[in-house]
Structures are given as structure tokens and as C-alpha cells.
């Protein structure tokens, strides 16, 4: 019998082309490209007269820059954004890469459309010039973010130079209580391990709670692996994965489907395989959480109070002081007493159909509180259409939400959707860094259900008490 291997080991071995003293060349099965981190890479290719090695394994979509209002199809007003999106369209055409343009219903956030179109499949290596590529790990594919030089490297060679990471297991046992979602799980994990807790590791998520999560939930979970410092997160594929993947545009069909299925069933960590680090959580202990500071690790159950910086150690004391000043909060303040101005529901963390259904469920018979600006941005054109079909769009518009077109929107302020200084936002996105949603803007991360509860009450609020 061979050596016991983790899921990460197996995918790694399968894609290893060469290894010299621990510096490895691995093959990349899928390369997702967006407008922000690719122009310099394409320019590099042109300058050196290189071509894209496998255009058929590469897909491009604009998402970060584009406005989410209906008039975007007639042109992007911000000149720099327009130049970047035009560059992507032009590069995709020149290098013969599949491209979903702004007016294509398949357009959306790169990490939502990858799985949606079946580009992402179990056992693959997937990269994108974007740190939230970790999302695709939900399918049991080794997926991580890369920089622009690496984007150019993958375009030219379909490979990546890598050092093998360490194995880390995060197991979540038991089950989740009412009102507790994948977002609360992933935030709670980061709260526990810290934003550098997974650095140098690939995380595999296991346990009953993970088994029970839907594919959408697993994507939310893996999406934020990077916020825990890990380049990639993984969930071993199971029947839910196969069901999600089956029948998608780029998924294998017929004989190939059977072949693939056989292959995918071998994608799990062998019993007794070695993990360098193991973290365990009990699902029963996880509550709906929100962040209070400017790092995703600044997370607490909603019924807590804002911490005193002196509760921390080392450099975190100064960092927490700075966070509280930026966030306009003081120690001891009840999280539930914090009023908000804005609600943002969307992003590659929580912009999928299941998230919108969750919001619709909470909003049933309720309205967005007067004076609160509340915005829903579906993660893709297809999510938008689906929600419109299910009546979710009509219900939420009626409840007082703005209903937008697909894109990154207010997750990061590169497009017109931004917070103004001091504006406080309940957001379903993944980063609460200073200025992330607009200079001086204050972000509290939470689940879609919790963001809906904030919309109803105008403050941070425990959805279970609604």
C-alpha cells in the first residue's frame, strides 16, 4: 500500500510536472481572468511575443470595475475603469479566450461564474489573479490566488512555480443552530486562528457541519480561507458536489462524465493521513457573528460588547486601538446598539442564489427601515435572473432594497458603489479593511441573514430575535 495522502497531496501529486529541491512546477487546469490584475500580464506576453498556451482552459470576465446600474451597457462613465474593461475585451479577443461581456447574462463575479458555468471541477488546479480564488476549493479543486507576474506565467506556460504548502485540517463537528450559517462558521474560524493562522498552509474543512453545508455554503466557507491566511481551502467532493456540477455548460458529458465521476470519488484524505496543524470547532458553539474592527479576525458573537484593546497582546493592542478609532466605537459598547446607515448584500462570498433566498426568508412580511440605504447585488447575471423568476427580486424591491446588476459592487470601491467617510455598513462581503468599501467607510461583516436583520432594525441585530 502506498503512502497515506491528504486530499491536497493527491491533487498536488496529480499536477506535478517537476520538482527541484522543493521548488515545483505544477500544471494549471483552469485560469480565470478579470480586468484588474491582467492588463500588465497580457502586455508582458505581447512584448515578449508569447502566446496564451491554452486559451481553451482560460476564461475572462469583467467584474471589479463595472457599474451595477442598468445604464452600464451603454458605456462605463469612469474613464479609467472603461480603459481597463476595454483592455480585457480586447486581450480576450486577441488571444482567443472565452469572454463574458457586460451584456452577457453569464457575466458576473469571476468566482461565482467559474462554478456556475462548470469551469471549476473537482480535482482541478484553478488559479486567478485574485485572492478569493480560494472559493473554488469548495469543489475539491486546488484553487488559489496569484499575482500579475504569475498570471503572465500561467498564460504563457499553463504552469505555476510553487512550493508545496503544509496541510491543515479544520474540523467543525456537531450541527449549526437556527440562524447560524456558513458565513458565521468561516468568520468564527478566522476569529479563532487569526488572519495569519493559515499562512503557509492549505486548509481542508471537514466534519459534520461541513458535510451538511450546501455547495453555496461551502463556497462561502472556502472563499474566506484567504482571510485566515491560507492560500487555498478545500472540501472533499461528495454527492452534493456531483449534483451541482452535473449538466453545467463546461461539465463533462456522457462517457466522460462517468469517467470523471470515477476519478472524483478518489478525492478524499486517506484515513490517518498527516496534517501539520489541526483545529477543531463545535458547531453548537458557533453563534451569528459580526466584525467590530478592521481585520476579519475582529469577530464576535452578536450578543457581545466591543472589546477593550488591552484585552489583547503585543501588536494587536495598538491595532485594536486604531481599529476602534477608525470604526468610531468604544470598548464596552453593545454590538447590538450600533446603528448602521447602509446594507450591502452581494460579493463572491454571499452573492449566490441561496444567499438571496436567505435574505428573502428573513425579509418576509418586513421592510427595510426608513432612512437605511439597502442594496442587493446578485453575483452573476444568472443569479439575478433566477431570483427574478422566483419572485425574490420583486419581494425585496417591495421591501425597500435596490436591485442591481451583477458585479463586485460595494465589496471594494473600484466602481461607483462606495461608502462615504463615516458611513457604516452591514456587509456580506469578506474584507473590513480601512477604506475597503470607500475611504473612511466603516464595514461590519456578517451573513446575509444578519445583514437583512440589520436592514429591518437599522442596527446590528441578532436575526434570531427578529
Amino acid at each position: 500500500m502506498g503512502k497515506l495522502r491528504t486530499l491536497y497531496d493527491k491533487i498536488w501529486d496529480e499536477h506535478l510536472i517537476s520538482d527541484q529541491d522543493g521548488t515545483s512546477l505544477i500544471y494549471i487546469d483552469r485560469h480565470l481572468v478579470h480586468e484588474v490584475t491582467s492588463p500588465q500580464a497580457f502586455e508582458g506576453l505581447r512584448l515578449s511575443g508569447r502566446r496564451v498556451r491554452c486559451p481553451e482552459k482560460t476564461v475572462a470576465v469583467p467584474d471589479h470595475n463595472i457599474p451595477t446600474t442598468g445604464d452600464r451597457e451603454t458605456g462605463i462613465k469612469n474613464l479609467e475603469s472603461k480603459v481597463q474593461v476595454d483592455a480585457l475585451r480586447e486581450n480576450a479577443k486577441y488571444f482567443d479566450i472565452t469572454y463574458y461581456d457586460v451584456d452577457d447574462v453569464r457575466q458576473g463575479i469571476v468566482h461565482i461564474i467559474g462554478p456556475e458555468q462548470g469551469w471549476t471541477l473537482p480535482g482541478m488546479t484553478v488559479v486567478c489573479g485574485d485572492s478569493h480564488t480560494a472559493t473554488h476549493g469548495a469543489f475539491g479543486s486546488l484553487a488559489h490566488g496569484i499575482g500579475t507576474s504569475e498570471v503572465e506565467h500561467v498564460l504563457a506556460t499553463q504552469t505555476l512555480i510553487q512550493k508545496k504548502a503544509k496541510n491543515m485540517k479544520v474540523s467543525v463537528s456537531g450541527s449549526l443552530g437556527d440562524g447560524v450559517t456558513a458565513k458565521d462558521v468561516t468568520l468564527s474560524i478566522i476569529g479563532k486562528i487569526g488572519t495569519a493562522g493559515g499562512t503557509g498552509h492549505v486548509i481542508e474543512y471537514t466534519g459534520d457541519v461541513i458535510d451538511e453545508l450546501s455547495m453555496e455554503g461551502r463556497m462561502t466557507l472556502c472563499n474566506m480561507a484567504i482571510e485566515g491566511g491560507a492560500r487555498a481551502g478545500l472540501v472533499a467532493p461528495d454527492q452534493k458536489t456531483y449534483d451541482y456540477v452535473e449538466g453545467r455548460a463546461m461539465s463533462p458529458k456522457g462517457e466522460n462524465w462517468e469517467k470523471a465521476l470515477k476519478d472524483w470519488k478518489l478525492l478524499f484524505s486517506d484515513n490517518g493521513s498527516h496534517f501539520d496543524k489541526v483545529i477543531s470547532l463545535d458547531g453548537h458553539d458557533i453563534a451569528p457573528v459580526v466584525t467590530w474592527g478592521t481585520s476579519p479576525e475582529d469577530v464576535l458573537p452578536i450578543d457581545s460588547v466591543v472589546p477593550d484593546p488591552h484585552e489583547f497582546n503585543g501588536g494587536k493592542i495598538e491595532a485594536a486601538k486604531r481599529s476602534l478609532k477608525y470604526m468610531g466605537l468604544s470598548p464596552g459598547q453593545r454590538l447590538q446598539d450600533i446603528p448602521i446607515d447602509t446594507v450591502f448584500i452581494g460579493s463572491c462570498t454571499n452573492g449566490r442564489i441561496e444567499d438571496l433566498r436567505e435574505v428573502a426568508k428573513v425579509m418576509k412580511g418586513r421592510k427595510v427601515k426608513d432612512g437605511i440605504r439597502a442594496m442587493i447585488v446578485p453575483g452573476s447575471g444568472l443569479v439575478k435572473v433566477q431570483a427574478e423568476k422566483e419572485g425574490i427580486a420583486a419581494q425585496l424591491k417591495e421591501a425597500g432594497f435596490e436591485w442591481r446588476f451583477a458585479g463586485c459592487s460595494m465589496c471594494l470601491a473600484m466602481n461607483p458603489d462606495q461608502l462615504t467617510a463615516g458611513e457604516r455598513c452591514a456587509a456580506t462581503s469578506n474584507r473590513n479593511f480601512e477604506g475597503r468599501q470607500g475611504r473612511g467607510g466603516r464595514t461590519h461583516l456578517m451573513s446575509p441573514a444578519m445583514a437583512a436583520a440589520a436592514a429591518v432594525t437599522g442596527r446590528l441585530f441578532d436575526v434570531r430575535n427578529l
Binding site: 510536472i17 500588465q40 480603459v83
Partner: protein, 201 residues
């Protein structure tokens, strides 16, 4: 890429932990389709007020530190996004070395692709170097990559570890796309194999 061998220069102290890529280069500057010219926006929201005037207390706005070539930073430098604009902005400003106890993976890798040397040292050494960096015009460090040493203003030496392959690439200023393309044959063989055993990829 420019070769890196030794560097002598002013080191700026940035003791804050978890300095993220949004701090290093805020997203509004990611709309460029070029690599150059980002230095003026390095640490933009910490360095400048909303009206564009300088924040006098920010270290890179202070006299000797305007010429910094080195940053000594708090733990977990460069966390957040994969934007290579972060090292591009550092480089364009003139920073060629960042010293911390830990770096986020993607940022760490991106540095090497651009001729920036990120150095990991134990907490105690970092804290000593932070003290050195507080010394204004005397905050000069000398970094020798070949020897894997940082020389402090008092003449003492802090040594550091670095992956041999990464070290060599920096020393030689190597383009790793060209290096990988030398393995063309192995890549093609891999693709042939994959076509037969995993035809759906």
C-alpha cells in the same frame, strides 16, 4: 527584472500589525494598465488627507524617511488581496526590502517577481531593527543577500533564511517564464497524459 545583491539605505519603521494590501495601495489606484507610477500613491490613505495634503505624522512624510529604501514592519505584512500593485507601488517609491516576522503568502511571492526582497526574522530581531529604524537619519541598514545578512547601524549583524531558488532568481534577476518554458517538453508530455486519462479537463 533588476538584479539584487546588496542594498544600503534608510529603514522606515511601520510597527502596525496586519498591514494589508488595501493600505499599501488602495483600490482606486488599481485601475491602471501599467506597472509604473504607483509610488506616489503608496500608503495613500495613511500618507495623505482627503484634500491631498500630507499627513505630517506618517513616517514616509518625515524628513529622512522620504528616502527610505527599507521598511521594518509589524507581523503579517501584506495580507489581503493578490494585487501586485502593492509591490509595484513599494518599488516605485524606492522600497526594495521589507523586514517583518511574517508575510502573507501571495504578497511574499509577488515581491520576488519584482526584485523586492522580503526578509523574515524572529520577533526579537525585528524589534531591534524597529528600534534602529526609529533613529531618523541614523536609521541605515545594509542588506546583503549573498551573505543573508542585515548590518545594523551599530555594526552588529542579523542573519536570515531564504529559499535558495528564490535567492538565486533575485541575485540573477531571472525571468521565470523563460525558465519554465525550458520545461516545454515535460509540460507537453503532461498534457498528452492528461488528455488520455482526464479528457474532460
Amino acid at each position: 527584472m533588476e538584479k539584487f545583491s546588496t542594498l544600503e539605505g534608510i529603514a522606515a519603521p511601520l510597527p502596525l500589525i496586519n498591514i494589508d494590501t488595501d493600505m499599501i495601495i488602495p483600490k482606486q489606484f488599481l485601475k491602471t494598465i501599467k506597472r509604473s507610477g504607483l509610488g506616489k500613491n503608496l500608503f495613500d490613505e495613511m500618507r495623505f488627507n482627503q484634500d491631498g495634503s500630507e499627513v505630517p505624522s506618517f513616517v514616509l512624510n518625515k524628513k529622512p524617511y522620504r528616502q527610505s529604501k527599507i521598511i521594518v514592519a509589524g507581523d503579517n505584512f501584506g495580507c489581503g488581496s493578490s494585487r501586485e500593485h502593492a509591490p509595484w507601488a513599494l518599488l516605485d517609491f524606492g522600497i526594495k526590502v521589507v523586514i517583518s516576522t511574517s508575510f502573507a503568502d501571495i504578497f511574499y511571492n509577488n515581491c520576488f517577481k519584482n526584485g523586492i526582497l522580503p526578509i523574515i526574522v524572529p520577533t526579537e530581531d525585528r524589534d531591534n531593527l524597529l528600534d534602529d529604524a526609529e533613529k531618523g537619519s541614523n536609521a541605515r541598514l545594509t542588506v546583503n543577500l549573498e551573505m543573508q545578512e542585515i548590518r545594523r547601524p551599530d555594526g552588529s549583524v542579523v542573519s536570515f533564511d531564504i529559499d535558495p531558488f528564490k535567492k538565486q532568481c533575485l541575485l540573477d534577476g531571472l525571468d521565470d517564464i523563460a525558465l519554465s518554458l525550458e520545461k516545454e517538453k515535460s509540460i507537453a508530455e503532461f498534457e498528452e497524459r492528461q488528455k488520455s486519462c482526464r479528457p474532460w479537463v
